[in-house]
Symmetry: D2
């Protein structure tokens, strides 16, 4: 029996930490369960958003195990399986099959920038030895790029069933689909750049693995459903609406701290990340969070800040300053120093 094609919104899930910096398992379970309740199509632990490189090998396994236990077949799990070398990566594939994952996602080797031939050789060895379906993970900003000829060659292995591409490059997606789909209709193309998810789906992509799913899973689901069912114009409106939110979570924060901040606002104790930050960064983060809360409140998923939201300009720096002024004014009103406009 053939496994079903990987489609829809897969959330590269965040990892909550407790005060000692360890994985907060209770919160992780509650968070993953909430994501499923909100309608996401699948869970994707150990992605870049899940900070897999900041976990140790044992923690990576634990995270996948928990995801599989929480999912319990309600949704498929796509498990990030990259380890220090090809042998240990293949061993992780074996373990994740046992845990019940639907497939694994494997990023191209990073740190060293490998040639296309070496990237091919790496995935070829995995394709020949993995007992579980494999999706390629192309994120040239962080890891060795997987170029088009390499993708075409790797798509000849039945074990390789898809690619997650995080470039946001529309023409690259189209070239991949054109090169692979005729021979591999079951091969799945996932867009890892939610700023352009709707156009990508319109061009034939099968879904997305989107960090924003941690913040607004219900919106991502709705947006995908609209695009997937051909209601392109409505989908595009949502696409435009999430743009500022995505940019705010992505750019001014160190990745993935903006997404962590948003998940906090949705009611989960994410804890401090594992990457230390300076006091100046922490101060900055707090004013960013206020803007973020305003953006999230536009979708009706959180309350606006107590002080209200300043009109947004689309220029994040201005928005931050405007928002601080708004909140200062609110505090002064509360203290009776100034009076509210009637």
């Amino acid at each position: 029996m053939m496994a079903s094609k990987i489609t829809g919104i897969y959330v590269p899930t965040l990892v909550p930490f407790d005060e000692r910096g360890d994985i907060n398992e209770t919160e992780l379970r509650r968070f993953l369960s909430w994501l499923i309740d909100k309608g996401v199509h699948g869970l994707y632990p150990n992605g870049s958003t899940g900070e897999f490189v900041r976990l140790n090998a044992e923690e990576r396994r634990r995270v996948v195990k928990i995801a599989c236990e929480v999912a319990q077949g309600r949704v498929p799990v796509l498990a990030g399986a990259a380890e220090a070398n090809v042998k240990e990566t293949i061993r992780a594939c074996e373990v994740y099959l046992e845990y019940g994952a639907r497939a694994v996602a494997i990023v191209a080797p990073f740190y060293y920038r490998l040639s296309p031939d070496s990237v091919y050789a790496y995935f070829e060895e995995i394709a020949r030895n993995s007992p579980i379906d494999v999706t390629l993970y192309n994120i040239p900003h962080f890891a060795s790029p997987i170029d088009l000829p390499t993708i075409r060659r790797l798509a000849e292995f039945p074990r390789i069933v898809g690619i997650k591409d995080s470039t946001g490059d529309m023409s690259f997606m189209m070239r991949m689909i054109q090169a692979v789909r005729p021979k591999r209709p079951d091969f799945s193309f996932l867009c890892g750049w939610e700023a352009v998810l709707v156009p990508m789906v319109a061009a034939g992509a099968d879904g997305g693995t989107n960090a924003s799913g941690n913040a607004i899973p219900e919106v991502m689901r709705q947006m995908f459903d609209l695009a997937h069912s051909g209601r392109f114009e409505e989908a595009m409106k949502l696409q435009y609406r999430i743009l500022d939110l995505f940019d705010t979570m992505l750019n001014p924060f160190e990745f993935p701290d903006g997404f962590r901040a948003a998940a906090e606002m949705r009611g989960f104790k994410m804890g401090r990340g594992r990457q230390p930050s300076t006091p100046a960064q922490q101060v900055n983060r707090s004013s960013l969070q206020s803007v973020l809360q305003c953006l999230l409140s536009d979708f009706g998923v959180v309350e606006p800040p107590a002080g209200g939201c300043a009109p947004r300009t689309g220029n994040l720096q201005k928005d931050q300053i405007g928002q601080i002024v708004y909140e200062v004014l609110h505090t002064l009103e509360e203290r009776g120093v100034i009076w509210k406009k009637p």
Copy 2:
């Protein structure tokens, strides 16, 4: 009276040269006239495709003059007006107004990579002094980038009426539209990367300035019309069909020689470009041209090569070799050395 918004397919027109390397004016007129007959919405002389940096100042004027004369109001002319410095650029704006151009397109300063502030200051001076409408031209691969805050600020000048963006970056286009359109509904967004023209139009872009218009003006027009009228699915099919052709004209050749080769096949004597090439490059070009002719023949706009077309693989190097083999076999058949399969 307000000038109409710039929309549709503007062709950044090639320049034919004669045997001495001078502009072949007769052929240029014939070519521009043919483009108009094929339905393009506007002419755009002195773009990157028009090799404006390889023309001298006098030649650049001559090219615009000819375009205006040929257009004669049938279609608007968007004239590339960048000169060595802001003073001479403004002088070119004045001259192109006299010639009858609809607007000018001005690339950000190149050679030096300027800061956003300097890019702003450059266009600000032009916006304040140009007597003709100005479109910005953003092509960060070749010139100083025009970033989003700069575009937002420049859109405050009524004289600046649009931007041509050649990044092919879908999310950048959406951010520009989101930042500028609410206040400037008349501001025009043109996509300079035809590989993604249809999704760009679906996301709100007003048209394209596309080198491929020199090769397949009627196809570009049809594709735009389909997308513009909301027949997105059909438009997308054409979008996929032009992908290989665009890549073949763009990548293996030095720009814009692939587009020049295609225009030759459409019946125009383009002559040798002004950039010298090695004998090895010339040999390579001849096998590329054969693949190009096959791709063009798919659209029914040229005949296939005499020897026929090898099945295409989407891998250009393989396609080149396959095509050479096909033509060698054909020649051997013609000479009676081998016999055709019945």
Copy 3:
């Protein structure tokens, strides 16, 4: 008779502009003459520092003509000869020979990024047709790179007599010398990155084409002489001393405005450059100039600012603030608001 090898400090000369933005010929002549008096080995008009791309073709000729007239054989002139295309570049070579230039310097084609083969073909055509010696100009930050195999091949033409390399890449310089010098002992290697001039000379480079020569010609000459005569340790001390000055002229200003500001302090009316600037940039520039004056005064070539110089920290932003404070204090003292420490 064989022309002598190009060695020593060639100054890529700045161009003074008058209030209308035209070339200030009187000042240019006075400036060039001063450079020669200060001991530079040669003049190099129409380099990047000379803003050749912001001059028109006629102005570029005029600048070379003036340089040759001022030099009058006292020092050789290396004339930047790049024009819009290979034909016009060769024509400029002919003209500059007539003017009495020693050789021309030709930057690789810019705007388009050409392949190594095309860069070769371009210079090959020049090498075969130029009546004057040619030096290659490699500045990959601004123009198509000239890679090592291309340099090796081009060094087979006797007409090509040297290369100016502005990468500041020490190992690239050594690879060039190793590849070319055994067969071409007359071939000249010039370093266009004065931050490492001394180590480059120690590794075998023949000289430099250094924008700093416009600010401190006598220091550059002295530094070269020390390095060239093997007094490496003393040369290295000067090398360290010019580092902050070079960085301050180069980085916070738009190129080449920092060098223009320094030449102003040396007593020449450089005028405003041709690239417009915002009011914010102008304010910033004025505090930078004060730091620059302090740095120049360390070499005894200008007076320190009236208010004195704040202790430098090597952190330019801090130095700017410190310097402003110093000058404010001085003004307050002068106005009798505060009293000087006794």
Copy 4:
């Protein structure tokens, strides 16, 4: 008592693997011992050359333990200590102190590209908590860059005692020395790019951490000693002589396979690396190895290949072909097919 400054040639040691891909401990011990016998100043396990990212956490510890055991105080050990997160990195620092390492080297966080503030915060936490001296490791090609202001700030922690910089950027080295040395004369500057080691030492660098030390430890030692004792001209001759060897080990191979191949020729069973390769890569590698053997034989440290060495051109591709021809001819001579030139 103050620990001595870190100076001289530290070899970032390779890791031999056995046929199962496990660490070949016997060979590793033999190799490290040989390096010490050949005169290197220190061992540096778990560098990029030591493929620390392809080892698991346990293996990284084992490698350092072995290095400390072999060194036994004869030479200091600089132990690469980067782990998945700051907490585990600090734990590794504790362990490596126990093992007897002199100091640790810690690369900036990789995969994610962090901002300067985050890089600072990361090293600050380590500086405050590590019980062993720390050297920074700057390799922007692979990891987040450590910029100059960050280095200046981090040099305020006494626990941070040096930096290894692998950029090969001469002016960056000089800027670092200028910024830090006046306040921290004990701070060590190590150059990780042996192509320019001699000029770096001449400019004040204290030593190098050089992969070539695995191939030619005695030559690296000699070159450093010459430069360090001021015999710059002789040092520079060696510097030129190692250039081709370094380039051949570095560029055409995937890093660090060229260095592994050279260590094999010096008599150590390095085994296959952990990164898989294609058959085409393996064929290519075998012809590269032959060129490499010729280059090594120039230093008298290995025998030339049986078939002799073709004259070298400095163009690696030509050299490879030339060398293959040479060896084919030799084989034909041996088989009596052709006769040797008398």
